[in-house]
């Protein structure tokens, strides 16, 4: 199947779009070691948004992989992970900001380096959110696709370097009409002291509506009930 959109995000790039339900977003780590910071909102009711706690406690997991789902804060699913060659994606560590990037990588502003300057995750999120009428109040814990962070029994976190290899793929199927806001800035806990501009290919495909026996819904009874909530929402609204 040919994508209806194909685009390569250059390192520390950003993108936002509304993608309707049933369509799929496929991201490919072209260089290895990519990180995609992502926030998701119901495109029609942007006060409904991706919710890290409900996603984790609803599925009894600390990280994301296929065929798990991304839950909203309204008891519904925003997206399902339909394909995943990476196997572990972080969602608890947030994103970088200007102070952190400056402290970690040193000064590298636009004046000095033009478009090879050091952007940060927070600025990228806020810039793209503003284009849809959203702002600081809408910044919530985000996804860090392609990145792995593990916890020991005391809760100490360790970033696992070189987790995602070149060619690594994750694909999301949207269960609501979704506003996607993403950037490719490095993970905030990545100990690499070199600022990397890694490339990510982004493709959007059309798709079919899922059935109740979809693996993303059968893996947890919570996911099936959330999808039933989506069905109710769509039946009433459309």
């Amino acid at each position: 199947m040919n994508p209806i959109l194909e685009k390569t995000l250059h390192g520390a790039g950003m993108w936002s779009a509304v993608v309707s339900r049933g369509k799929r977003l496929r991201l490919t780590d072209l260089d290895g070691g990519a990180n995609v910071g992502m926030l998701l909102y119901n495109a029609l009711e942007r006060i409904e948004r991706y919710n890290m706690p409900d996603t984790l406690k609803g599925q009894h997991i600390f990280y994301l992989r296929a065929p798990y789902c991304l839950h909203s804060d309204m008891g519904r699913l925003i997206a399902s992970i339909t394909e995943d060659s990476v196997g572990w994606h972080d969602t608890v560590c947030g994103h970088s900001d200007a102070a952190r990037v400056l402290a970690k990588y040193g000064g590298n502003n636009y004046q000095k380096s033009r478009n090879h300057w050091n952007r940060n995750g927070r600025d990228c999120f806020l810039i793209e959110l503003a284009k849809w009428g959203l702002g600081k109040k809408d910044l919530v814990p985000n996804l860090n696709l392609f990145s792995k962070v593990v916890s020991d029994e005391e809760g100490k976190l360790s970033f696992i370097p070189d987790h995602s290899k070149a060619g690594g793929v994750i694909e999301l199927r949207f269960e609501l009409d979704t506003l996607i806001v993403l950037n490719t800035c490095q993970h905030p806990l990545d100990p690499d002291l070199v600022y990397r501009h890694r490339h990510v290919k982004l493709e959007v495909f059309t798709g079919d509506s899922p059935a109740p026996d979809d693996p993303s819904f059968t893996i947890r009874p919570e996911n099936l009930r959330a999808w039933e909530n989506n069905q109710t929402y769509h039946t009433l609204r459309f």
């Binding site: 919710n51 890290m52 409900d54 984790l56 609803g58 600390f62 608890v92 985000n142 916890s151 809760g155």
Partner: protein
């Protein structure tokens, strides 16, 4: 575990929050807030905002990032969305507090337990009402991922996450000093469907010292 040297007799404010109620109160820079688990195993869902500009608020991810660790205890800086410390935990006789589990909502009750649990009282409704009573401009947008004092959500090395029986007990407390003027919003959790409140939601007490 770190015990406090503060005496409840010298507190300038004391109030018991029944289970299912909300409490919103300003904590001035330098004041110390204690949350006391009166009967044990009671989750106190808590949010903080800058008292001056509530767009600046508690950030769970920023707090985790700052200490590269999941659980909150003595020494943890509770970080804001602008990268500032709102408060620092100075005493803790429970040992570990959660900031991954978020708040319960009537909507998430349907997802987590059963569709017919939608009618049951939940923390987000308390958060919404408390936020509105403090500042009429606040809405659901301002209700973000909170702290669950006294709640135990262990994460395993292989990535599992569970709501476990509490590690708190009657009389255990957590204490924090405000690093700036903040507003504290607590929902004393009414959840009956999991062990976060020991299946029996009970009161907590808040105390403030100058």
């Amino acid at each position: 575990m770190t015990e406090s040297t503060l005496n409840p007799v010298t507190a300038v404010f004391r109030e018991v929050i029944p289970a299912g109620d909300w409490w919103v109160h300003k904590i001035k820079k330098g004041q110390t807030l204690r949350i006391l688990d009166l009967e044990g195993n009671q989750a106190a869902d808590t949010l903080f905002f800058s008292a001056v500009a509530p767009t600046e608020r508690y950030s769970a991810d920023r707090t985790i990032q700052e200490q590269a660790a999941l659980y909150l205890t003595t020494g943890t800086k509770l970080m804001s969305t602008e990268g500032n410390a709102l408060l620092t935990i100075t005493a803790d006789t429970c040992g570990r507090h959660d900031t991954l589990g978020g708040a319960c909502s009537r909507e998430s009750n349907t997802m987590r337990y059963a569709h017919d649990k939608e009618c049951m009282h939940a923390c987000r409704d308390s958060f919404i009402r408390g936020a509105q009573e403090w500042n009429v401009e606040l809405t659901k947008r301002d209700i973000t991922c909170n702290i669950n004092f006294f709640m135990n959500v262990p994460v395993s090395a292989d990535g599992g996450l569970t709501f476990a029986d509490g590690i708190s007990a009657p009389g255990r407390y957590v204490e924090m000093v405000a690093e700036m003027d903040v507003v504290c919003l607590i929902s004393n959790c009414p959840q009956l469907n999991n062990p976060c409140n020991g299946w029996n939601p009970t009161p907590v007490e808040v105390l403030i010292w100058n």
